[in-house]
């Protein structure tokens, strides 16, 4: 579920960057405040462990396919949420830098979708209450439930962020129907992997789990964390929906339905309106004239204008070649030097 820069808008990317870096700063402060020196090497090594674990596949029981660990939940179980969040954020940063797995400006979205949900919702609200004091089977159920819910929320986050960005034409409903079932499966895999590893550790060396530094924090603090996440969600939701409603397509109809008004009463044909906006936005065909309101068909495009888009494509290709040539010349000049 790594999002790429190409699919999000600067507004969405920037908003989630702000949210995620705020969370990182807060967690860094909390980790510093624990004054537990052991955490520093432990976090680094566990980050490396998660990275390695992501490369090991296992076959999912009952299916022919295979899956791997993502890691947010198990980190929260081992390290407590604050340190776990820093670790997962660092793993995602390195993935984005070295593998282009998720873009740099989309990193905020990715940290939010894959870090905040498992660590600040799945772990404290689902895993901990369910698994505490219970036996093996309760831990399995807790891990599965926490992982599935966190994955579903993460996938929903991807859909909402993509929609608010307005780059992909995929309708939210279709995208949702594609994303949620896939991430149900991924959530099951994540839950199984987390449960089986935690089960092994707890049977071989239970003290590792008992010494979780995050366990020390009291319930009151968690309430404030949950409230914080909720507030952030409302804030982001507000910004996103404001932004989305400005878009020519998308959530407009839903908002119109909610307010009880039929869509676009302002005299203009919706198709025409959309065309006009589209025309404003595009620099490829700046002097294009859409002749009638229903000009969706090619018949409305006059043959005389056919050169316009051709010149855009040609010019684009030439520019690309020029850029390449400048690069090539620079390189050969450097070799000579």
């Amino acid at each position: 579920m790594h999002m790429a820069d190409a699919l999000i808008s600067p507004t969405v990317g920037g908003t989630l960057w702000a949210a995620s870096s705020g969370a990182i700063a807060w967690c860094a402060k909390k980790v510093k405040a624990t004054r537990d020196d052991r955490l520093i090497p432990l976090m680094g090594v566990l980050g490396a462990f998660i990275f390695t674990a992501q490369m090991v596949n296992f076959s999912v029981p009952g299916t022919g396919s295979s899956g791997h660990l993502v890691g947010g939940l198990i980190l929260a179980i081992l390290l407590g949420p604050h340190a776990a969040f820093l670790v997962i954020a660092s793993v995602l940063t390195v993935q984005s830098l070295f593998f282009a797995d998720g873009g740099l400006l989309a990193l905020g979205c990715n940290i939010f979708n894959m870090g905040v949900f498992p660590i600040f919702i799945g772990y404290p609200l689902i895993y901990r209450p369910l698994a505490s004091g219970g036996g093996e089977s309760r831990r399995w159920i807790a891990a599965l439930l926490a992982a599935i819910i966190a994955m579903q929320l993460g996938a929903l986050g991807v859909v909402l962020e993509t929609k608010a960005s307005g780059v992909s034409a995929l309708p939210s409903k279709t995208f949702l129907l594609l994303m949620q079932p896939i991430h149900l499966a991924i959530g099951v895999v994540e839950g199984l992997a987390t449960a089986v590893i935690v089960g092994f550790v707890s049977s071989v060396r239970p003290e590792v789990l008992a010494s979780n530094p995050g366990m020390a924090s009291n319930g009151k603090e968690w309430r404030s964390v949950c409230l914080g996440v909720l507030a952030a969600a409302i804030l982001i939701g507000g910004i996103v929906s404001c932004y989305a409603s400005k878009r020519p397509d998308g959530l407009e109809w839903a908002i119109a339905k909610l307010t009880g008004r039929p869509q676009l009463q302002s005299g203009a044909d919706p198709v025409h309106d959309r065309m006009a906006r589209l025309q404003e936005n595009t620099a490829i065909l700046p002097d294009y004239q859409f002749q009638s309101a229903g000009s969706g068909s090619s018949a409305a495009l006059s043959a005389g204008k056919s050169g316009t888009s051709f010149s855009g494509i040609l010019g684009g290709l030439i520019t690309l070649v020029i850029c390449g040539l400048i690069g090539f010349t620079l390189k050969s000049r450097r070799r000579e030097a």
């Binding site: 808008s9 980790v31 090497p41 566990l46 674990a53 295979s66 780059v167 010019g315």
Partner: protein, 269 residues
């Protein structure tokens, strides 16, 4: 990401240790320029393709000036492409509004937005990869910290990077041992997986404890002081060059944002 890819991580950092004018720039300047570039690319409308073309000068120029092998980078961009292609490929199907005519055939708006996604993807991904290939993780972390990210997080990035090779090697050896003992089984069963990764986890935790003891015996008291400062010293370029680099690129990005060079050429012809 498969096993064995981790050698690739090392290769990127190796490139970052090379020497070129781009490598000598201040890491902060490179980070800020990369962010500005990605912001500008992302700010273009969803149907715009030709105005983005002039921006290719940024990755191409840096590849050349930074002595980064272009073929290697293109391969990395291509490997990362499937997600963007998957999401974008529905655009031509879903967005069928006619937007232009090429050789007498109407082209739908969806094709324009699809092409735009691909171009934007290539630009942003290559810019990010060039940043790491021309800076290396140490100087990047140092730059990030001087830009204000929490020290704990900068140290975490460095620790993760440093121990990644060690733990990945360990995991690789464990997997090979399993492969040798299980004739031709392709994937691990859940029980074996749990034991294997559980062991790897415990070994990693033990290793962290040994590292901690080693750190303490060398005077570690909870505050990370050294380690980040891998300054090139005399190799670094003077401040005005760094400023000119950042300012020059930002001016160019603004120019490219508001003036469609590609179309000007196309119209001229």
């Amino acid at each position: 990401m498969g096993f064995g890819d981790y050698i690739e991580v090392g290769k990127m950092d190796e490139l970052g240790r090379n020497d070129s004018p781009i490598h000598r720039l201040d890491a902060r300047v490179k980070i800020l320029t990369t962010v500005a570039f990605i912001m500008v690319v992302m700010s273009f409308g969803r149907y715009e393709v030709s105005p983005l073309m002039a921006l290719f000068i940024y990755p191409f120029g840096l590849l050349a000036a930074g002595n980064i092998p272009a073929g290697y980078l293109f391969k990395k961009v291509a490997i990362a492409a499937p997600f963007a292609i998957c999401v974008g490929m529905f655009n031509p199907v879903l967005d069928r509004t006619a937007m232009g005519i090429l050789f007498g055939h109407p082209i739908s708006a969806g094709w324009f937005s699809f092409a735009s996604i691909l171009v934007r993807f290539s630009l942003t991904v290559s810019a990010g990869l060039i940043l790491i290939a021309s800076t290396g993780i140490h100087r990047l972390c140092e730059g990030l910290q001087r830009l204000g990210i929490p020290r704990v997080f900068a140290v975490q990035l460095l620790f993760l990077y440093r121990y990644f090779f060690v733990i990945a090697d360990e995991g690789h050896r464990m997997l090979r041992a399993v492969e040798v003992r299980s004739a031709g089984t392709r994937h691990l069963g859940l029980a074996t997986y749990g034991t294997l990764l559980g062991h790897l986890l415990l070994r990693s935790i033990d290793r962290a404890q040994r590292i901690y003891r080693a750190m303490v015996s060398r005077g570690f008291d909870g505050a990370v002081r050294a380690g980040l400062s891998v300054r090139a010293g005399a190799m670094e370029l003077p401040g005005w060059i760094n400023g000119a680099y950042l300012g020059g690129w930002c001016l160019f990005f603004l120019l490219a944002r508001y003036w469609n060079f590609a179309e000007a050429i196309g119209n001229h012809l």
